[in-house]
């Protein structure tokens, strides 16, 4: 950790220096989340709350979807925005090649740079999840049925989703390091809408998962583990030579 801390801090600072990119991307994440919460509020939550006895399971489902989307948006948009731009820049300038010639281990460079991208996303994701939890509760639920939150929704939103994106970030950076950053970016860009859409469809249209149950949380953690296994397999085959030759 001692070795990678300068890589994390310096790269985070360097990545976040482009204020325009940060404002545009993070602003977009916030706007999408507000629109999603408003749509859910108007189309699903308000009609449910207007019933004589609102179904708490449904309210938890809606809250769960909004929190799930909030975390995914924050982390996903961050990965696409910071991950891609920093990878392109660092490859064209030879930052990574120079670091590889220092005493720092390849694993530390990869981990440090991945964390430098992940940490701002984690902060943004957790913040958006927290905002959506508080806002949905105080705007819709508290006046009528009180505070709604299942512990498993919280674990999924605050832990499982960041874990998925942490593993995905490691994978994306690994692909970018040893190949073309644009390929890594395609994975980062495509993952967010595809995963989010599949989960929302499954939750709304089927009874396979109950968003407030431990099975949903465990499924997400399991998915993160699958990505982690792919990362471990790929990582074992990475060498400095492969990285340098990918320039």
């Amino acid at each position: 950790m001692k070795n990678i801390s300068p890589i994390i801090t310096t790269n985070m600072r360097n990545n976040l220096r482009s204020k325009t990119v940060v404002i545009i991307w993070y602003g977009t994440a916030l706007l999408i989340l507000i629109a999603l919460a408003a749509l859910f509020g108007i189309l699903l939550i308000t009609p449910e709350l207007n019933k004589v006895s609102p179904d708490k399971a449904k309210l938890e489902l809606y809250l769960g979807i909004i929190m799930f989307s909030a975390g995914s948006l924050g982390l996903g948009i961050n990965l696409s925005a910071l991950g891609f731009t920093s990878m392109i820049r660092e490859k064209s300038r030879g930052n990574i090649q120079s670091l590889l010639a220092t005493p720092i281990r390849l694993k530390d460079i990869w981990m440090g740079k991945s964390l430098a991208i992940f940490i701002p996303g984690l902060i943004l994701g957790e913040l958006l999840t927290l905002i959506s939890l508080v806002a949905v509760n105080y705007i819709y639920f508290v006046p009528k049925v009180g505070f709604v939150l299942s512990p498993w929704i919280a674990v999924t939103g605050f832990f499982a989703i960041p874990l998925i994106y942490f593993c995905l970030g490691l994978l994306v950076y690994l692909i970018g390091l040893t190949g073309k950053p644009v390929n890594a970016n395609i994975i980062a860009q495509a993952f967010l809408p595809i995963y989010l859409n599949i989960i929302i469809q499954i939750l709304i249209r089927t009874t396979i998962f109950d968003v407030s149950s431990w099975t949903f949380t465990l499924t997400n953690i399991g998915f993160a583990l699958v990505i982690a296994i792919i990362v471990l397999i790929r990582q074992a085959r990475v060498s400095k030579e492969k990285i340098v030759l990918s320039y």
Binding site: N14, R89, R93, N95, S98
Partner: protein, 308 residues
Amino acid sequence: MNSAINIENIKKSLGNREILRGISFKVNRGDIFGYLGPNGAGKTTTIRIILGLFKADSGNLDILGQDIESSETRRKIGFVLDLDGLYDGMTARENLIFYSRIYGLAMVEEKIGQLLDMVELSGRGNDRVHTYSTGMRQRLALARSMVHDPEILVLDEPTSGVDPSGQIQIRKILLNMAHKENKTIFLSSHNLDEVQRICNRIAIIDRGEIKLYGELEDLRKKMGKSGIIIRSSNDIPDEVIKEVKRSPDLGLKEVKDSNLIFMPDEGTETSDIISFLSSRGVKVEEAIKQEASLEEMYSNILKEAEPS
């Protein structure tokens, strides 16, 4: 242990292409070693092997008697690669602080100041690197290579893309590093003039093979067939010229007005030529010894290596 870098019979292929075909050379401590060769000769691959970015397929490499894989050895090497690797969004100072932290050093302001002074960037230390010219970037990269006070500097074409005044500045810095800071410098370059001016030893690589290697002065003597220009204060009679031509050991190469240019055989001294001419009434005004330039040596080597 006098050798800083010792390369023995290193071979390296990338895909089906043989990049290095068993190269060997030694860089002694205190050398400014010029590594020359055309594009694609294997210079950058050699540098990447020295820095541990590539693994050789076979052969031995030791740096100051140690393996390059050890982190202790890496701490003894500073480098400037083909891409400078500077962080554009950060200032020069921040770049130096970052690299000093990478080497586990607590960089003090004084040391940064000294490094920026050395590369003549002290006035621009707080400017972001994206505002720098190519020459300034290269100078900063040189300063960065020195943050951990390495014993060896490995530089891959540090003056490439730099304007002439920037090149002069960089040469001055390199000489400073070698003589005042006592560093061993391994300098890969296309710039023959630069190598001729600052290097004491060279190796020329072509198509993955070392074609020439040794002390620059020795190589000049051995390879260059030093020429001698004799200037006469009077016109040289045709009969004398004919007579000179009849003595092949004198090696008359060219006659220009009252100047004679000789490429004598080994064993023929300048004094032999002068006494030959004086005894035939030629008034020798001046005898100039012309040494072969690195450029001549380089182009001869590459010409010889060309497939017929």
